[in-house]
Amino acid sequence: MSTLTINKNNNFQQTNIISLKNVQPRETIYDVKDLNLWYGDTHALKGIDLSFFDKEVTAIIGPSGCGKSTFLKTLNRLVELVPGVRTTGLITYQGKSILDQSVEELRTRVGMVFQKANPFPKSIYENVAYGPKIHGIRNKKILDEIVEKSLRSAFLWDEVKDRLHENAYGLSGGQQQRLCIARCLAIEPDVILMDEPTSALDPKSTLKIEELIQELKKNYSIVIVTHNMQQAARISDRTAFFLNGEVVEFDQTDVIFNNPNDQRTEDYIRGRFG
């Protein structure tokens, strides 16, 4: 973190330095510098500076419409699908600007799980095998192995191993979301972006996904957008608080929840607005 930067995010810069002192330093995988984004004339993201670290879960919290999901989609450039989007600033992924590589390559390293479970209208097997297939794996045996491994990693294998070739829409909502996670794991990404993955699920399925995230953390870096503050507190190592397209505060999760630096964070955490 640059200590020379003097801007409106002064607070956050300082807290970040403090926090970095008392955790073991991890490798930075994503570095976002002065990211601005406009939808037409609407300035949706304003001067975002954030870093994500290897094998950590970073939660992004904030009220609806604060730009959390938009921010997540800029990380894998999926936001470019929206017409009329303009961005400035620099996002580096493992030291290299995300604009300097093909989107296809970037999205192979950075998987995404969406808010609404969105399996393809294909069989469970075909859903998981989709990623490897588009990246050129044709060998049936290897595909079988990938499918089994991914479904096991998503804690779904035992529930679906006898009906791999049935339509994915026959699964329950929670199972569909875990299938989407398995499908994402099948492309062996380094980072998984999750956009409110449990907001459409019942508490039991939510718990399962949270357990899964704890497990995945050992091998993947995870950035998760969530509406649910208890969820952020339970599963994340670091938390960023977004408000009106700005990062108000970014720190270790227990600092954000127990001793926030900014009054607005405090108010949001305590449920005074949002």
């Binding site: 296809e104 390559e105 192979t108 969406f114 393809f120 588009i134 990246h135």
Partner: protein, 294 residues
């Protein structure tokens, strides 16, 4: 003090109820009008034509003698025509729809093309006939063969196929293509593996309905100059041909000379109706069977 005066309400109640019932009766009458006309038409066609409809009629060659006349030539002509129309419209129509929906950047050019396609769908079919006559029959010197007629018909239904395919493609939820792009798929892989399979039932339904329009269409072929009396069967796309609605047209035209021609026309109408019924049922079947929920 109440605003509503109950005595006034009661006084007007009967008239309100009358208007209520009147509206209902009007709507039923509108529906019945169409249904009754259709019933009369079908009844008349069937009573006139059913007696003439037999295997010899279906498989026979055309003849000036009503007792020996058959419509195999027209059936084959229709089949050959569809052999041109179906692939040409599917390839060009779906290709255009994919380009417009998935590749073309929104802007003036796209809305210009879009407006023109919608306008083309409203151009009278006889104008397409004149286009076909000018371009295919005369300029390209094909003559009035299956290929020329098929290309003309393909142009006629192309706007319909494009618009219905566009709707089918637009109906594929965004979150499916996002999932595919999110895994690093290219645009073409996403189109081929996700968007096209998901929109295929809709595309096919639209295409079949458009084809059945082409099967029943007459005026472009009149302009192209399809022969009134054609004895030999067409055996390739370079042969002269006639189709079922043309046969109906000429027989009806000549029924003032030979009265039996009217019955032959009626029998041919039955055949045409059955073919259209089968095609429309196929469209409904495909729509229901392969309709996916997302």
């Amino acid at each position: 003090m109440k605003y509503l005066d109950m005595t006034a309400v009661s006084r007007r109640m009967n008239f309100r109820l009358f208007k209520n019932k009147f509206a209902k009766v009007m709507f039923i009458c509108s529906t019945l009008f169409g249904l009754i006309m259709l019933a009369i038409l079908i009844a008349r066609v069937f009573t006139q034509g059913i007696g003439w409809l037999n295997l010899d009629f279906l498989t026979g060659k055309l003849s000036t003698d009503p007792d020996r006349a058959g419509i195999m030539g027209a059936i084959l002509g229709t089949a050959w025509l569809m052999l041109i129309v179906a692939p040409v419209t599917m390839i060009l129509g779906v290709g255009t729809a994919i380009y417009l929906e998935l590749y073309a950047k929104p802007g003036r050019l796209k809305s210009f093309i879009q407006t023109n396609i919608s306008n083309l769908a409203g151009v009278p079919s006889i104008v397409y006939g004149i286009l076909g006559l000018t371009v295919f029959v005369r300029a390209m010197n094909m003559g009035n063969i299956v290929l020329a007629g098929g290309l003309t018909m393909a142009l006629l239904i192309l706007p319909i196929v494009i618009v219905s395919s566009q709707e089918a493609i637009r109906a594929v939820p965004q979150h499916l293509s996002e999932a595919s792009y999110g895994m690093g798929a290219t645009k073409w892989q996403t189109v081929k593996n996700i968007i096209l399979p998901a929109s295929l039932p809709g595309i096919l339904t639209g295409a079949i309905l458009a084809l059945s329009r082409a099967i029943g269409e007459t005026s472009p072929l009149v302009v192209i100059g399809i022969p009134a009396l054609l004895i030999p069967f067409p055996s390739s796309i370079f042969d002269k041909f006639t189709v079922l609605p043309m046969q109906i047209y000429y027989w009806t035209l000549d029924s003032s000379l030979v009265a039996e021609y009217a019955y032959l026309a009626a029998a041919t109408i039955i055949v045409l109706l059955i073919i259209l019924l089968i095609l429309n049922s196929a469209a409904i079947f495909i729509r229901n069977k392969f309709q996916q929920r997302f």
